[in-house]
Amino acid sequence: MLRIEALSHRYPGAPIDALQDVSLSAARGSVLGLLGPNGAGKTTLISLLAGTLVPQRGRLLIDGVPLAQVRAGAPTRIAVAPQDHAFYGALGVEENLDCFAAAARLKGPRRRARIRDCMDFAQLARFASSRADRLSGGLKRRLNLAIALLAEPELLILDEPTAGVDPQSRAFILEAIARLARAGTAVVYTSHYMEEIEAIADRALILDRGQVLCQGSLSELLAHGRDVLCLAAPGLAQEDLLPFGSVQAPIAGGLWTVQLAPDHTPAAVLAALESRGLGVTQATYGRYSLEHLFMTLTRRPLRDEA
């Protein structure tokens, strides 16, 4: 469905590229998780997909056709739900949907049906006449999503769709996005919440400073952690772990990473530490979390610590 080849972009006057040789693909019926900290290039990539920025180098293709050509012919095949609440606060929920449905050139009974369907999908029917700026954060996110769905896009780009919402709304939005993918929509989902990506994405891509650090199916990415023991223990120091393999110091949360040498097992390491009086409080083996993978690749946490 979506293929991006060697895409680069530099803002006027900027010393470095905001995106550098980014290539990726997203298939129908799947969710591509796009991970990256602030400044990674996610927003630039989304702006290029949304058509508000023009690619300087590289290609953006939809089913093999250049994106600009697709946008000129059928712009509603692609929808973007931006991170901001991109709707009119002074209008009601239904009035907002009607305005954007008209902008998407939906007319007559189809327009009314799509407005109704999207309100039902986002469970907003009860709030149809409520002013958008008086909705809760979660409901605003749902409205943002519902507007993106009006024209039944084939490719849906979601920029941090759960930012600032309560856990209940987050669960609802994630479930709704998974339903869309099951129905055949290609979804590009950007977030810096690893657990969300792990929960709904089929594939993930980690972006940092405009470059793709790694990408693949979730199982491929997380398998990078084979023979890796992650553990935390009060008073644990690098010299305690060095005999068992190559050691990476904690980046956040006090979790040490040891790439075990072939003659060591996790059980033996834990037993050795226990015998030295180092009580292990947390340990995982054989599988990275996305967060850990990100930190391993970038040597820094995904989210800025408060």
Binding site: A50, P82, Y88, F100, A103, A151
Partner: protein, 384 residues
């Protein structure tokens, strides 16, 4: 699609209570307040000012002057002992002091070489008013001197209605039906101010849409830039039309009900009025869109829009008529688009002018509208 976007714009505007108040209530209030405050501007209250006469001359000519003045200006107040202090405080507006030698001077054949009548006014009195009172005193004294000279020369007594004052007539030249009044001056002034106030409203709403990504979203749905700009411009042209109807209504019906003069549209050249209003509206919308394209944050729009409006109004003769400004400021005023609009409307509503008289201002306003519109389209494509 365009209709839906226009409907959206009108709905958003109609729910912005502060914006509506600024667009409709503010100029209407200004019309009422300023028209009532300046009600006597075109007919100064020469005959209702409190005054006293200090007659230090016992002669008949000086007594006659005092009687003639009282006949025209009402009975004077008894001269208070502290009349100087009362003048300082403004409780007494002026005092006419008739010197002891005045009667001799009025009887003498020859022109005076020194003042025998002193007009002493309170510090706050308007300069024009003071000059008008002085001119009237001069006229009365001249009349008395002329009558005495005729008597001395043995001429026949003049007819009862004869007077030096009959020699000069003064009138404002206006089209039939048009009366120069404060309302006739203030309705155009504050109407222009109100029409340009859409600069603040439109640019503020526009910049909010750009800041929260709504404009980008509309563009990603395939809405073309010119459709978006039109969807902004057309509702505000309609807003301007409503403002015109409201302000004219205030002038025609509300002002006389409040005790002021009524706005007169008798003999107005409707085509010239329509052209002037259309050009003002086009310029205001163009300027609004250009400002919206220039500023980057809602805060900037909220500050710059009203500031630009007030500056254009202050310079353009809305708040202070340009004819009371010094020559340099009058040249500066002629740079303000509000001044172009005001002059065009005054030409039609106050001076009874037609299309030819408003055309210079209309052309300037339309050129501004085209330039600002082109600028906004370029900025829109560049910044979204």
């Amino acid at each position: 699609m365009l209709l839906a976007l226009i409907r959206k714009e009108l709905l958003v505007l109609s729910r912005d209570v502060h914006g509506l108040a600024a667009l409709f209530l503010l100029p209407a209030v200004f019309i009422v307040v300023m028209s009532l405050a300046l009600q006597d501007y075109y007919d100064p209250p020469l005959r209702s000012l409190s005054y006293a006469i200090d007659n230090r001359d016992g002669g008949a000519p000086a007594g006659q002057l005092a009687r003639d003045w009282a006949a025209a200006h009402g009975t004077p107040q008894p001269l208070p002992a502290d009349w100087n202090g009362q003048l300082h405080r403004g409780t007494l507006k002026y005092v006419v002091v008739l010197d002891a030698q005045l009667s001799d001077e009025l009887r003498a054949l020859g022109l005076p070489t020194q003042a025998r009548v002193h007009l002493l006014a309170e510090p706050g009195i308007d300069g024009n008013l003071l000059n008008a009172l002085r001119a009237e005193l001069l006229g009365l004294a001249g009349e008395l001197k002329a009558r005495h000279a005729m008597l001395e020369a043995g001429a026949l007594p003049p007819p009862a209605n004869a007077s030096v004052a009959a020699l000069v007539d003064a009138a404002r030249v206006a089209a039939p039906g048009v009366r120069p009044t404060a309302v006739q001056q203030n309705v155009p002034a504050w109407l222009v101010f109100g029409m340009f106030f859409i600069v603040a409203s439109l640019s503020n709403l526009y910049i909010q849409e750009r800041a929260n990504g709504t404009l980008a979203r509309l563009r990603s749905l395939g809405v073309r830039p010119h459709t978006l700009l039109l969807s902004k411009a057309l509702p505000y042209l309609a807003v301007n039309l409503l403002q015109v109807l409201l302000m004219l209504g205030v002038g025609i019906w509300l002002m006389p009900w409040l005790g002021g003069d009524a706005l007169s549209l008798a003999g107005v050249d409707w085509l010239a009025l329509f052209c002037a209003l259309g050009a003002i509206s086009a310029a205001a919308v163009g300027l609004s869109l250009a400002l919206a394209g220039l500023v980057r944050t809602p805060g900037q729009a909220a500050t710059l829009g009203p500031a630009l409006n007030v500056l254009m109004a202050a310079l353009g003769g809305i708040m202070v008529p340009t004819f009371v400004m010094p020559a340099f400021m009058q040249r500066v005023a002629s740079l303000s688009p509000m001044n172009w609009g005001l002059e065009a409307l005054l030409s039609v509503l106050l001076r009874g002018g037609g299309l030819a008289q408003v055309m210079p201002q209309v052309i300037r306003l339309l050129l501004l509208a085209v330039a600002a519109g082109a600028c906004s389209a370029w900025l829109f494509r560049r910044r979204g």
